[in-house]
Subunit: 150 residues, 2 copies
Protein backbone atom coordinates (compact mmCIF):
# COMPACT_ATOMS: atom_id res chain seq x y z
CA UNK A 1 0.00 0.00 0.00
CA UNK A 2 1.18 3.52 -0.61
CA UNK A 3 2.10 5.88 2.15
CA UNK A 4 -0.97 7.55 3.53
CA UNK A 5 0.33 9.66 6.34
CA UNK A 6 4.06 9.38 6.25
CA UNK A 7 6.92 10.45 4.04
CA UNK A 8 6.92 10.12 0.30
CA UNK A 9 8.60 7.03 -1.08
CA UNK A 10 11.23 7.43 -3.79
CA UNK A 11 9.50 8.45 -7.01
CA UNK A 12 6.28 9.58 -5.38
CA UNK A 13 5.08 13.08 -6.26
CA UNK A 14 2.59 15.28 -4.43
CA UNK A 15 0.53 18.13 -5.87
CA UNK A 16 -0.51 21.25 -4.03
CA UNK A 17 -4.13 20.75 -3.03
CA UNK A 18 -6.69 23.43 -3.90
CA UNK A 19 -7.17 26.06 -1.21
CA UNK A 20 -10.79 25.12 -0.64
CA UNK A 21 -13.33 22.42 -1.36
CA UNK A 22 -15.80 22.66 -4.23
CA UNK A 23 -18.61 20.66 -2.62
CA UNK A 24 -19.48 19.18 0.75
CA UNK A 25 -20.29 15.60 1.66
CA UNK A 26 -22.64 14.49 4.40
CA UNK A 27 -21.66 11.29 6.16
CA UNK A 28 -24.88 9.27 6.26
CA UNK A 29 -23.80 6.37 8.46
CA UNK A 30 -20.93 4.19 9.62
CA UNK A 31 -19.54 0.92 8.28
CA UNK A 32 -18.67 -1.81 10.78
CA UNK A 33 -16.10 -4.39 9.67
CA UNK A 34 -13.70 -6.78 11.42
CA UNK A 35 -10.65 -4.79 10.24
CA UNK A 36 -9.01 -2.16 12.39
CA UNK A 37 -5.81 -1.43 10.47
CA UNK A 38 -5.05 -1.14 6.78
CA UNK A 39 -2.76 -4.14 7.09
CA UNK A 40 -5.68 -6.27 8.24
CA UNK A 41 -8.02 -5.25 5.41
CA UNK A 42 -8.33 -7.65 2.50
CA UNK A 43 -7.04 -6.12 -0.70
CA UNK A 44 -10.37 -6.81 -2.31
CA UNK A 45 -13.72 -7.66 -0.73
CA UNK A 46 -14.96 -11.19 -1.33
CA UNK A 47 -18.46 -12.55 -1.66
CA UNK A 48 -17.23 -15.28 0.68
CA UNK A 49 -16.02 -12.69 3.18
CA UNK A 50 -17.58 -11.92 6.56
CA UNK A 51 -20.88 -10.14 6.96
CA UNK A 52 -20.26 -6.45 7.56
CA UNK A 53 -22.80 -4.06 9.00
CA UNK A 54 -23.72 -0.66 7.67
CA UNK A 55 -25.37 1.55 10.26
CA UNK A 56 -27.38 4.24 8.50
CA UNK A 57 -28.17 7.41 10.41
CA UNK A 58 -31.76 7.72 11.64
CA UNK A 59 -32.22 10.81 9.46
CA UNK A 60 -32.09 8.60 6.35
CA UNK A 61 -34.21 5.67 7.58
CA UNK A 62 -36.97 6.10 4.99
CA UNK A 63 -34.42 6.26 2.19
CA UNK A 64 -33.79 2.53 2.72
CA UNK A 65 -37.36 1.71 1.63
CA UNK A 66 -37.22 -0.88 -1.11
CA UNK A 67 -33.48 -1.49 -0.91
CA UNK A 68 -34.01 -5.09 0.25
CA UNK A 69 -35.31 -6.00 -3.21
CA UNK A 70 -31.82 -5.59 -4.66
CA UNK A 71 -29.43 -8.53 -4.31
CA UNK A 72 -26.39 -6.42 -5.21
CA UNK A 73 -25.78 -2.96 -3.81
CA UNK A 74 -23.12 -0.36 -4.52
CA UNK A 75 -21.59 1.18 -1.41
CA UNK A 76 -19.69 4.48 -1.50
CA UNK A 77 -17.60 5.41 1.51
CA UNK A 78 -15.03 7.96 2.62
CA UNK A 79 -11.51 6.70 3.24
CA UNK A 80 -10.83 9.32 5.84
CA UNK A 81 -7.34 8.29 6.85
CA UNK A 82 -5.69 8.74 3.46
CA UNK A 83 -3.62 11.69 2.29
CA UNK A 84 -5.06 13.38 -0.79
CA UNK A 85 -2.18 15.04 -2.58
CA UNK A 86 -0.23 12.28 -4.32
CA UNK A 87 -0.25 12.22 -8.13
CA UNK A 88 2.41 9.52 -8.53
CA UNK A 89 2.54 6.62 -6.08
CA UNK A 90 4.82 3.68 -5.41
CA UNK A 91 2.54 0.91 -4.14
CA UNK A 92 4.37 -1.39 -1.78
CA UNK A 93 3.03 -4.43 -3.61
CA UNK A 94 4.70 -3.64 -6.92
CA UNK A 95 7.15 -0.83 -6.20
CA UNK A 96 6.35 0.53 -9.65
CA UNK A 97 5.69 4.26 -9.94
CA UNK A 98 2.18 4.80 -11.25
CA UNK A 99 -0.41 7.55 -11.47
CA UNK A 100 -3.06 7.86 -8.79
CA UNK A 101 -5.92 7.46 -11.27
CA UNK A 102 -4.42 4.17 -12.48
CA UNK A 103 -4.72 2.78 -8.95
CA UNK A 104 -7.60 2.02 -6.59
CA UNK A 105 -5.46 3.15 -3.66
CA UNK A 106 -7.24 5.14 -0.92
CA UNK A 107 -4.66 7.87 -1.57
CA UNK A 108 -6.37 10.17 -4.10
CA UNK A 109 -7.75 13.71 -4.28
CA UNK A 110 -11.23 12.53 -3.32
CA UNK A 111 -10.84 9.37 -1.24
CA UNK A 112 -14.15 7.78 -2.13
CA UNK A 113 -14.21 4.01 -2.06
CA UNK A 114 -16.71 2.07 -4.14
CA UNK A 115 -17.69 -1.56 -3.67
CA UNK A 116 -20.47 -3.70 -5.07
CA UNK A 117 -21.61 -6.10 -2.38
CA UNK A 118 -24.13 -8.84 -1.77
CA UNK A 119 -27.05 -7.63 0.28
CA UNK A 120 -27.77 -10.00 3.17
CA UNK A 121 -30.48 -8.17 5.11
CA UNK A 122 -32.00 -4.79 5.90
CA UNK A 123 -33.22 -4.43 9.49
CA UNK A 124 -34.44 -0.94 10.31
CA UNK A 125 -31.42 1.30 9.78
CA UNK A 126 -28.94 -1.59 9.71
CA UNK A 127 -27.84 -3.10 6.41
CA UNK A 128 -25.88 -6.37 6.40
CA UNK A 129 -23.69 -7.07 3.40
CA UNK A 130 -20.88 -9.31 2.22
CA UNK A 131 -17.97 -8.15 0.08
CA UNK A 132 -16.56 -5.06 1.80
CA UNK A 133 -12.88 -4.52 2.46
CA UNK A 134 -12.78 -1.20 4.32
CA UNK A 135 -11.73 -0.29 7.84
CA UNK A 136 -14.09 -0.48 10.78
CA UNK A 137 -15.64 2.93 11.39
CA UNK A 138 -15.43 4.09 7.79
CA UNK A 139 -17.97 6.85 7.08
CA UNK A 140 -20.78 5.92 4.67
CA UNK A 141 -21.44 8.24 1.72
CA UNK A 142 -24.04 6.47 -0.42
CA UNK A 143 -25.94 3.26 -1.09
CA UNK A 144 -27.55 2.45 -4.43
CA UNK A 145 -28.65 -0.59 -6.37
CA UNK A 146 -25.87 -2.06 -8.48
CA UNK A 147 -26.24 -0.79 -12.01
CA UNK A 148 -26.13 -4.23 -13.55
CA UNK A 149 -29.03 -5.50 -11.42
CA UNK A 150 -31.06 -2.31 -10.94
CA UNK B 1 -37.06 11.29 -13.28
CA UNK B 2 -37.77 12.61 -9.80
CA UNK B 3 -38.09 16.27 -9.02
CA UNK B 4 -34.69 17.83 -8.58
CA UNK B 5 -35.43 21.46 -8.00
CA UNK B 6 -39.16 21.82 -7.93
CA UNK B 7 -42.00 20.87 -5.67
CA UNK B 8 -42.38 17.49 -4.06
CA UNK B 9 -44.60 15.06 -5.89
CA UNK B 10 -47.35 13.30 -3.97
CA UNK B 11 -45.77 10.77 -1.61
CA UNK B 12 -42.29 12.26 -1.74
CA UNK B 13 -40.67 13.02 1.61
CA UNK B 14 -37.74 15.31 2.38
CA UNK B 15 -35.42 15.15 5.37
CA UNK B 16 -33.79 18.12 7.05
CA UNK B 17 -30.21 18.21 5.81
CA UNK B 18 -27.38 18.40 8.34
CA UNK B 19 -26.28 21.93 9.20
CA UNK B 20 -22.81 21.41 7.80
CA UNK B 21 -20.76 19.11 5.63
CA UNK B 22 -18.53 16.40 7.07
CA UNK B 23 -15.92 16.39 4.31
CA UNK B 24 -14.99 18.43 1.26
CA UNK B 25 -14.65 17.35 -2.34
CA UNK B 26 -12.27 18.83 -4.88
CA UNK B 27 -13.55 18.93 -8.43
CA UNK B 28 -10.67 17.56 -10.50
CA UNK B 29 -11.96 18.19 -14.00
CA UNK B 30 -15.01 18.53 -16.22
CA UNK B 31 -16.97 15.98 -18.23
CA UNK B 32 -18.02 16.91 -21.77
CA UNK B 33 -21.03 15.07 -23.20
CA UNK B 34 -23.60 15.78 -25.94
CA UNK B 35 -26.41 16.17 -23.36
CA UNK B 36 -27.48 19.56 -22.04
CA UNK B 37 -30.69 18.72 -20.19
CA UNK B 38 -31.71 15.80 -18.02
CA UNK B 39 -34.39 14.94 -20.56
CA UNK B 40 -31.69 14.46 -23.22
CA UNK B 41 -29.48 12.19 -21.11
CA UNK B 42 -29.78 8.46 -21.76
CA UNK B 43 -31.09 6.63 -18.73
CA UNK B 44 -28.05 4.42 -18.80
CA UNK B 45 -24.72 4.87 -20.58
CA UNK B 46 -24.05 2.47 -23.41
CA UNK B 47 -20.84 1.00 -24.74
CA UNK B 48 -22.25 1.87 -28.16
CA UNK B 49 -22.86 5.46 -27.11
CA UNK B 50 -20.93 8.52 -28.25
CA UNK B 51 -17.38 9.25 -27.20
CA UNK B 52 -17.41 11.66 -24.27
CA UNK B 53 -14.42 13.69 -23.16
CA UNK B 54 -13.14 14.07 -19.63
CA UNK B 55 -10.97 17.14 -19.18
CA UNK B 56 -8.74 16.64 -16.16
CA UNK B 57 -7.34 19.73 -14.46
CA UNK B 58 -3.65 20.42 -15.11
CA UNK B 59 -2.91 19.98 -11.41
CA UNK B 60 -3.64 16.25 -11.73
CA UNK B 61 -1.88 15.56 -15.04
CA UNK B 62 0.69 13.14 -13.62
CA UNK B 63 -2.04 11.18 -11.85
CA UNK B 64 -3.16 9.90 -15.26
CA UNK B 65 0.14 8.04 -15.73
CA UNK B 66 -0.61 4.44 -16.56
CA UNK B 67 -4.37 4.85 -16.87
CA UNK B 68 -4.28 4.03 -20.59
CA UNK B 69 -3.41 0.41 -19.75
CA UNK B 70 -6.92 -0.14 -18.37
CA UNK B 71 -9.69 -0.93 -20.86
CA UNK B 72 -12.44 -0.22 -18.33
CA UNK B 73 -12.40 2.78 -16.02
CA UNK B 74 -14.72 3.82 -13.20
CA UNK B 75 -15.74 7.48 -13.31
CA UNK B 76 -17.14 9.29 -10.27
CA UNK B 77 -18.80 12.64 -10.80
CA UNK B 78 -20.88 15.22 -8.95
CA UNK B 79 -24.47 15.66 -10.05
CA UNK B 80 -24.53 19.26 -9.06
CA UNK B 81 -28.05 20.15 -10.14
CA UNK B 82 -29.89 17.69 -7.90
CA UNK B 83 -31.60 18.42 -4.62
CA UNK B 84 -30.19 16.40 -1.74
CA UNK B 85 -32.93 16.08 0.84
CA UNK B 86 -35.40 13.51 -0.49
CA UNK B 87 -35.71 10.22 1.37
CA UNK B 88 -38.77 8.94 -0.54
CA UNK B 89 -39.11 9.65 -4.24
CA UNK B 90 -41.74 9.12 -6.92
CA UNK B 91 -39.78 8.53 -10.12
CA UNK B 92 -41.73 9.71 -13.14
CA UNK B 93 -41.02 6.46 -14.94
CA UNK B 94 -42.82 4.23 -12.46
CA UNK B 95 -44.75 6.60 -10.20
CA UNK B 96 -44.05 4.17 -7.36
CA UNK B 97 -42.89 5.66 -4.06
CA UNK B 98 -39.47 4.28 -3.24
CA UNK B 99 -36.52 5.04 -0.98
CA UNK B 100 -33.64 7.12 -2.29
CA UNK B 101 -31.10 4.36 -1.62
CA UNK B 102 -33.16 1.93 -3.72
CA UNK B 103 -32.77 4.26 -6.73
CA UNK B 104 -29.84 5.48 -8.79
CA UNK B 105 -31.53 8.88 -9.13
CA UNK B 106 -29.26 11.95 -8.93
CA UNK B 107 -31.45 13.10 -6.05
CA UNK B 108 -29.65 11.78 -2.95
CA UNK B 109 -27.78 13.17 0.08
CA UNK B 110 -24.45 12.90 -1.72
CA UNK B 111 -25.12 13.20 -5.46
CA UNK B 112 -22.16 11.16 -6.63
CA UNK B 113 -22.64 9.38 -9.92
CA UNK B 114 -20.64 6.26 -10.74
CA UNK B 115 -20.17 4.77 -14.19
CA UNK B 116 -17.86 2.10 -15.55
CA UNK B 117 -16.87 3.08 -19.08
CA UNK B 118 -14.74 1.90 -21.97
CA UNK B 119 -11.49 3.82 -22.20
CA UNK B 120 -10.90 5.04 -25.75
CA UNK B 121 -7.79 7.22 -25.38
CA UNK B 122 -5.74 9.32 -23.01
CA UNK B 123 -4.18 12.41 -24.60
CA UNK B 124 -2.39 14.62 -22.11
CA UNK B 125 -5.09 15.72 -19.68
CA UNK B 126 -7.95 14.60 -21.91
CA UNK B 127 -9.54 11.20 -21.45
CA UNK B 128 -11.95 9.88 -24.08
CA UNK B 129 -14.47 7.27 -23.00
CA UNK B 130 -17.67 5.57 -24.08
CA UNK B 131 -20.55 4.72 -21.77
CA UNK B 132 -21.34 7.92 -19.87
CA UNK B 133 -24.84 9.29 -19.43
CA UNK B 134 -24.30 12.52 -17.50
CA UNK B 135 -24.90 16.16 -18.39
CA UNK B 136 -22.35 18.25 -20.24
CA UNK B 137 -20.27 20.21 -17.75
CA UNK B 138 -20.61 17.70 -14.92
CA UNK B 139 -17.75 18.07 -12.40
CA UNK B 140 -15.33 15.14 -12.22
CA UNK B 141 -14.59 13.65 -8.80
CA UNK B 142 -12.47 10.55 -9.47
CA UNK B 143 -11.11 8.13 -12.05
CA UNK B 144 -9.94 4.62 -11.20
CA UNK B 145 -9.46 1.31 -12.93
CA UNK B 146 -12.60 -0.82 -12.90
CA UNK B 147 -12.35 -3.29 -10.07
CA UNK B 148 -13.09 -6.30 -12.22
CA UNK B 149 -10.26 -5.52 -14.64
CA UNK B 150 -7.73 -3.84 -12.32
Amino acid sequence: MPADDGELRPGEVAAALPAQADAGLFFIGTIRTPWHTRAECPKRGSRDGPICTIEVDERWRLALTGLAAHPRVQVLYWMDRARRDLVLQAPRRTGKIIGTFALRSPVRPNPIGSAVVDLVAVNGTTVEVRGLDCLDGTPLVDLKPDRTTA
